[in-house]
Subunit: 374 residues, 2 copies
DNA sequence: CTGAAAGCGCTTACAG
DNA sequence: CTGAAAGCGCTTACAG
């Protein structure tokens, strides 16, 4: 392995000069000529910097610990990691990834390993949105919670705005002319269920349709979703269905088909998740709200790096593709046309100072909801 | 941060002794009393070893580079990483994860970053089985290709045995009494297509049914799969369909339903992938071959660590859950009841010396194929 | 049975 | 404008 010492010897300078050159701290310190000679020698010898030595000396590793409860439980949850990696790369960081399988003991052990590798900060990523206590070991280190919320509100958290999901999805059905909309929800008590229901209710209120508790039907996938969907169509005669998630949609489709109802005209259906193997496989293709996994990963890294290196370090770094609503408004162009959510999440631009950000998600229009009425 | 120096001072011994204690090299070198005193002091001060310093000194990081083309493109491909992580943890390793988006330049850059962090070896993971050239930068380092094959046959590779998938799936249909089996394949020319077709053919030959090219129907999902499935049922009148993958199954189900055929009795259907959102959502649930993503990740790490530390280092470490066929045979018990594939893959036990291993995959019996005839 | 010393590859005050 | 030296936290050959 070629070290700075080798370059120094070969180029006839001191190690110090070599180091200065590689750190661009040549100011009025190292002559142009020297810089060129050092660089040429380095190239000639095939020098590659040793991050480990640098880390030891600087007490800064430019490595982030990425902790997940269990990756790959849901398709596309890996997108969080992809987003995190893209952001990390652009900021000169890299990810050390561990998963804990929701085992507290294992988690403690893995965090200790990360610490021993001198990571500069942590992403604590959950595989679905919920409130969790932040592990005590992460309390005093730069940490951002992704697709979840720190129960104690200490650590900045990034997650989908579930209420807005419910509101936007329902409003989309209303805009298509629906007036009798069923909320087809989940029987298990999870955070998203309550908040999406609340958003549903809000949209109905805003449209002066009003909330009717009889139109809330909950079901459990693979247990009674089919049966419930049938009853729901028979007894409630809805013109639109807001499914808590895409997984519930096939049951609705089937029930509709069995009753001669055509999804997309007789019955509008909207889901949440944009699961590739559901939303695109169903006929007609399912209109659905996409969760911003990629963005949460990307912004999570932005946020934690801004905690480590300061807000200036992440200026101008933004996800090039993602599932967020652009909130820049009419006439906004280029870099300024990004969601205020994004800015706040990144912690780079002046936000309202909130630590945690619920991100507004995008509706992916396919075929199961008629066009917006004029 | 507490260092060995602090412990040494506090305990009144030398740093050397402390190091020896933590490395268990106390032989007849450090007295029992000293060991206890050092350990107690370490605990008292909250000492944690510094892997970075250790890495610099030892030139061994116990970090593996995990390189993926694009994670999370397919659901459950993240399982590769989960398996890799489980194995890594059990062997005292941890993963530095990068993804390349199939961009050669980015890949080169990311590998350089990994090298600068002094990783001991690499996993080169693909998101579906194909043959690729191993990046030149990885040629001389311990590297294992996962869910793919090194074109040049240099690096050990782990991948599903596609031919066996085709043979086992087809044999399963035959065992259920099918005699007129369609291969419902892919129009895009990928490795798995050809090999699964070959396995299909082999199973037919072995059952003395014989191969009929007219029974091979290829289609492209989301384009003509529905239409082809219909034609196929109308014109070929099959009693079984082997789908190249699960994604093709819904089209077959729909076509069957439209013709009053009941899947699971009138028509047997088997897929490949065990995609959670297809195989379990379809009614009847889809019998399918599961790809061993978790195992490939796990065994990939085993293999690369055995290249780094020698075969002894990975002895006895095996995945506790996975999708491989247990080939230990009758009467085999405990640790010996593991697939020879696994052993060979791990490189821990005497294999035939083959670098690369095609893993035999498990059929997950659900409802779309009738029981095996007596 | 134990310690003093060198060195892994880097950065940075300090001296010139 | 440049170099010699110390030190980040560890391990290990060497000397006692």
């Amino acid at each position: 392995m070629v070290s700075m010492k080798d370059i120094a010897r070969q180029a006839g300078v001191s190690v110090c000069t070599v180091s200065l050159v590689f750190n661009g701290k040549t100011g009025n310190r190292v002559s142009e000529r020297m810089v060129r000679r050092v660089l040429a020698t380095a190239k000639e010898l095939g020098y590659e910097p040793n991050s480990v030595a640098r880390t030891l000396r600087m007490r800064r590793s430019h490595v982030l610990g990425f902790i997940t409860d269990e990756i790959a439980t849901t398709p596309y949850a890996g997108a969080i990691m992809l987003g995190a990696q893209d952001a990390a790369r652009r900021l000169g960081y890299i990810l050390l990834v561990v998963s804990t399988g929701n085992d507290r003991e294992l988690e403690r052990e893995q965090i200790a390993t990360l610490r021993s590798h001198q990571v500069d900060g942590y992403l604590y990523a959950l595989m679905y949105h919920r409130r969790v206590p932040l592990p005590a070991e992460l309390r005093d280190a730069p940490t951002v919670v992704v697709d979840g919320e720190d129960e104690d509100g200490q650590a900045p958290s990034l997650y989908p705005d579930e209420r807005l999901i419910g509101r936007d999805a329902t409003a989309r059905l209303i805009a298509a002319g629906c007036r009798r909309i069923v909320y087809f929800g989940s029987e298990t008590h999870i955070l998203a269920q309550d908040e999406r229901l609340e958003g549903y209710r809000q949209a109905l209120d805003e449209a002066d349709i009003g909330f009717d508790p009889a139109l809330v039907v909950n079901a459990t996938e693979n247990v009674n979703a089919g049966e419930r969907a049938g009853h729901m169509l028979d007894e409630l005669k809805p013109d639109g269905v807001f499914c808590f998630n895409d997984v519930r949609a096939p049951a609705v489709y089937e029930a509709a088909q069995a009753r001669g109802l055509r999804v997309g005209s007789d019955l509008a259906v909207i889901g949440v998740d944009n699961q590739p193997f559901i939303a695109s496989v169903l006929r007609p293709a399912l209109t659905t709200v996409e969760l911003p996994h990629y963005d949460m990963g990307f912004l999570g890294v932005l946020r934690v790096v801004s905690m480590i290196d300061g807000p200036d370090a992440v200026q101008g770094v933004l996800p090039d593709h993602g599932a967020l609503v652009e909130a820049g408004g009419e006439g906004a162009v280029g870099a300024s046309a990004v969601s205020s959510d994004v800015s706040a999440a990144a912690g780079a631009l002046g936000s309202d100072g909130a630590l945690s950000v619920g991100l507004r998600c995008r509706i992916v229009d396919k075929e199961s909801v008629p066009p917006v009425l004029p």
